[in-house]
């Protein structure tokens, strides 16, 4: 499953340079489950973005970036972390 997620993100990022992925530990660490493993080295820090532990910020920034032409993939590390982003 993780490999499928990683393959899908990689494919989209190769296909369209507007696609970026952002979230907690998605960068250097490659994601808490390894879903973004290797993407940081391949696509760079502007498109594979480590964010602070601030879920409302992750979702809010992704909404704004989408409004201005990017196609962000916003990762929330665990399902119960989504609640602070409901604003």
């Amino acid at each position: 499953m993780i490999e499928a997620v990683r393959a899908a993100i990689t494919e989209e990022m190769e296909r369209d340079e507007r696609v970026l992925v952002m979230g907690e530990d998605v960068g250097r660490k490659g994601g808490v489950f390894g879903a973004t493993d290797g993407l940081y080295a391949r696509f760079g820090e502007a498109r594979v973005l480590d964010t602070p532990l601030a879920e409302s910020g992750i979702i809010g920034v992704a909404i704004g970036a989408a409004l201005n032409g990017l196609i962000p993939i916003a990762e929330i590390q665990f399902a119960d972390f989504i609640h602070p982003a409901f604003d």
């Binding site: 704004g64 970036a65 409004l67 990017l70």
Partner: protein, 307 residues
């Protein structure tokens, strides 16, 4: 500034006549909002305003008719086709982003817009406005932190009316210090002084365009709307002192003193504004209301992915 004031006056009369229910409470805020628009490039730069930010949105491209179509809840209202509360402005062409009334929450979206400008290599600047309450919200901190870390082309304008009608004790210098803590440039200004406001906003825009990062501007303004409407609650000498801080009257005194404005030119501009507002009201009154079957238009996207 005068057009915004003329619209506010007309709305006050229509509200008292119970024709519409709308008040934008922007009287006293005009100088810093006009300065912000003057420092930006309408249609190129992004603005994420406070709700009810009439002066800024007029200067960025909304017309008096656009405002009145929203006030009357008409189908032709370009912001939301009569759905949102009047004063909740939005324009795709004008790059005016519609915001909710939840203070400070929209700073994170503004940071996202500015991030997209930066990584796409475009010179756009994003202006986001809030009142002082917004700077206590968690999302304000998340957005300002993000803007500081990534040195985003973002300006956060804090419109603080604490000095006027609502003397609640608080740390009024706090936004400047907090912004510095997050790595932003910041300064406090007199938001009732057009020249000082324009200078500060222009510095911030220049910093953002030259990849120098984000700026917070803490503008003190005197909110006159509530005082004008319910002024009997304040002693007359206090009202007179506040009225002298009216940003439009301050600018008028300055221009008259410098000899670049005379009374007849001043009257003419005010008559032009009032005339444009009357024409907008007349047209909006005749414009049709939204049809029931269109209620769900633009509520759900039909696109599979953004274009």
């Amino acid at each position: 500034m005068l057009m915004a004031r003329a619209i506010e006056r007309r709305l006050w009369v229509m509200s008292r006549l119970e024709e519409v229910r709308a008040s934008f409470k922007g009287t006293g805020f005009e100088a810093v909002r006009a300065a912000a628009a003057a420092a930006l490039r309408p249609g190129f730069d992004w603005v994420v305003p406070c709700p009810l930010d009439l002066t800024l949105c007029l200067a960025m491209g909304m017309s008096p008719l656009d405002v009145m179509l929203a006030v009357f809840g008409r189908a032709a209202d370009p912001s939301s086709a009569g759905r949102q509360a009047p004063g909740t402005f939005g324009s795709k062409a004008g790059r005016i982003v519609m915001t909710s009334a939840a203070a400070g929450r929209h700073i994170v979206q503004a940071a996202g817009i500015a991030y997209a400008s930066k990584v796409s290599g475009r010179e756009e600047v994003t202006l986001v406005c809030t009142d002082l309450r917004g700077t206590y919200a968690g999302d304000w901190h998340e957005g300002i932190s993000f803007a500081g870390v990534h040195a985003l082309p973002l300006i956060c304008l804090v419109e603080d009316h604490a000095a006027g009608s609502r003397p609640i004790p608080r740390h009024t210098d706090a936004p400047v210090a907090r912004a510095q803590g997050y790595g932003l440039a910041s300064e406090a200004i007199d938001g009732g002084d057009l020249a000082a406001s324009l200078a500060a906003l222009s510095r911030a825009v220049e910093r953002a365009r030259s990849k120098g990062g984000a700026t917070l501007i803490h503008a003190q303004v005197v909110e006159l709307s509530s005082i004008v409407a319910d002024g009997g609650m304040l002693p007359p000498e206090q009202l007179e002192a506040l009225a002298r801080q009216d940003p439009i009257d301050r600018l008028r005194r300055r221009l008259l003193g410098a000899g670049v404005l005379d009374d007849s030119a001043d009257d003419e501009v005010q008559r032009d504004c009032a005339g444009a507002v009357e024409a907008a009201v007349a047209e909006a009154r005749l414009s049709p209301s939204p049809e029931g079957p269109r209620a769900l238009d633009n509520v759900f996207s039909r696109e599979q992915r953004p274009g």
